[in-house]
Symmetry: C2
C-alpha cells in the first residue's frame, strides 16, 4: 500500500488560502498568484518538488477546491484545470450533494463522495493500489486528515511573505507530532517535509 501524502503552498505564517476566495481570486485577492510564484515563475529551481505533487495514484480534494461556487452545484463546472486536468488519476471530491462522476481527458475522473473523508480515503486507497494517495487540498480538508493522523508525509512549500489572516495549515490540529524529514531552500521558497511519527 502506498503512502498518504499532502502538498500545500503556504505563506510564512502558514496561511494556505486568503480571505474572500472567489472565481476571480481563487486564493483571495490579497494572495493572488503569490503562493505559486515559486512554481510558475521559478519552477526550474523546484523541479523535483513540483513533480512530487502530481506523483500519486489517486487524489482527494475538498468541495471548494473543486468548485468555488458557494451556492448550489454548478453542474456545468468541471474544475479549474480545463479539459485535461493534470492529475491523470481518480480524484475524490468531498461534498454533500451527490453528482455523477466526471470523466475528463488524459485519465482524470472526478468522483464526488458524500460519505465523508474516511470513505473518501478508503476509495482513494483502493483506486491507488500500490501508489500514493495525495491530499490535494484545500486547507480545511488537509487539516481534517492531519487531525485524523493519517497523513504519512506532509510537504509544505513556504512562500516567504506573511498574510496575517486566512485559513492556516494546522488550525484545529492540536497535539500532532511529526518527524522532520527534509528541507530545502531556494531563493523563492522553502520546501519542508515532515513524516508521520
Amino acid at each position: 500500500m502506498g503512502l498518504v501524502t499532502a502538498d500545500m503552498s503556504v505563506s510564512l505564517d502558514l496561511v494556505g488560502a486568503g480571505r474572500d476566495q472567489s472565481l476571480e481570486h481563487p486564493f483571495g485577492p490579497a494572495v493572488g498568484e503569490r503562493f505559486h510564484t515559486w512554481m510558475f515563475e521559478h519552477g526550474e529551481e523546484s523541479a523535483d518538488e513540483i513533480a512530487g505533487i502530481l506523483d500519486a495514484g489517486a487524489f482527494i480534494m475538498g468541495r471548494h477546491m473543486f468548485d468555488p461556487h458557494r451556492g448550489e452545484w454548478d453542474l456545468g463546472w468541471t474544475g479549474w484545470w480545463g479539459p485535461e486536468p493534470p492529475y491523470r488519476a481518480p480524484v475524490f471530491v468531498l461534498c454533500s450533494r451527490p453528482r455523477e462522476p466526471l470523466t475528463m481527458e488524459g485519465g482524470t475522473t472526478f468522483h464526488f463522495v458524500t460519505e465523508g473523508p474516511t470513505v473518501a480515503l478508503e476509495r482513494a486507497r483502493a483506486a491507488a493500489g500500490e501508489r500514493n494517495v495525495s491530499i490535494a487540498g484545500g486547507v480545511t480538508t488537509l487539516n481534517g486528515y492531519l487531525a485524523a493522523g493519517v497523513v504519512d508525509e506532509l510537504r509544505l512549500h513556504v512562500a516567504p511573505f506573511t498574510l496575517g489572516e486566512g485559513l492556516r495549515v494546522f488550525d484545529d490540529v492540536p497535539d500532532l507530532t511529526m518527524v522532520p524529514a527534509a528541507s530545502r531552500t531556494t531563493p523563492h521558497v522553502t520546501h519542508l517535509t515532515f513524516r508521520r511519527a
Copy 2:
C-alpha cells in the same frame, strides 16, 4: 554595523510560547521543555545553530522573558539564568518601570529600558558596535521588531509538534516579505533562516 538577528524555538504551528506561563512553567504547562528538546537533548546535532544564538554583541528581550512575575517588579529577581547568564554582553530589557542596571558575572549586564523598542534597539546597536544585535525574545517582542521591518536575519527552530494555541511568531505581522536563506533538518528540529528583503 552588525545585523539585527533573532532566534526563536517554535512549534510546527509557529507557537513560541504556550498559554498559562508561570514561574513553574515558563513556556506554559502544555509545552514544558519540548520547545528545547532539540537543544538540550540533541544539541550535538545542532551545534552551529546553538552557537549562533549567543553570537551577538548585545541582546534585547521583553519584560516577561526576563521576569515572569506578573505584578510589581520583584527586585530580587535576577533572571532565569543564575549568577552567570550565558549572554556575556549587555542585555536591554523592555519594560515600563525603571530599574537600575544589574551586573551579573561573566560579562552580562541587564539594562532596563522604559523608552520603548526603538530606543532599546538604538542602545543595543551602540553597545554592540560592529557585532550583531540579537532579539532574544519573547514572541511579542520579536513580532514587534518584525513588524517594524528591522530584523535582518530571522532564525526559526521548528520543533515537530503542534500546540494549537499560544503566542505565534508573525501574529500581527501582516505583509512582511523576507528572503529564504537556509534550511536544515535534523531528526528533532527544522532550522530555517530568512533574511530581510
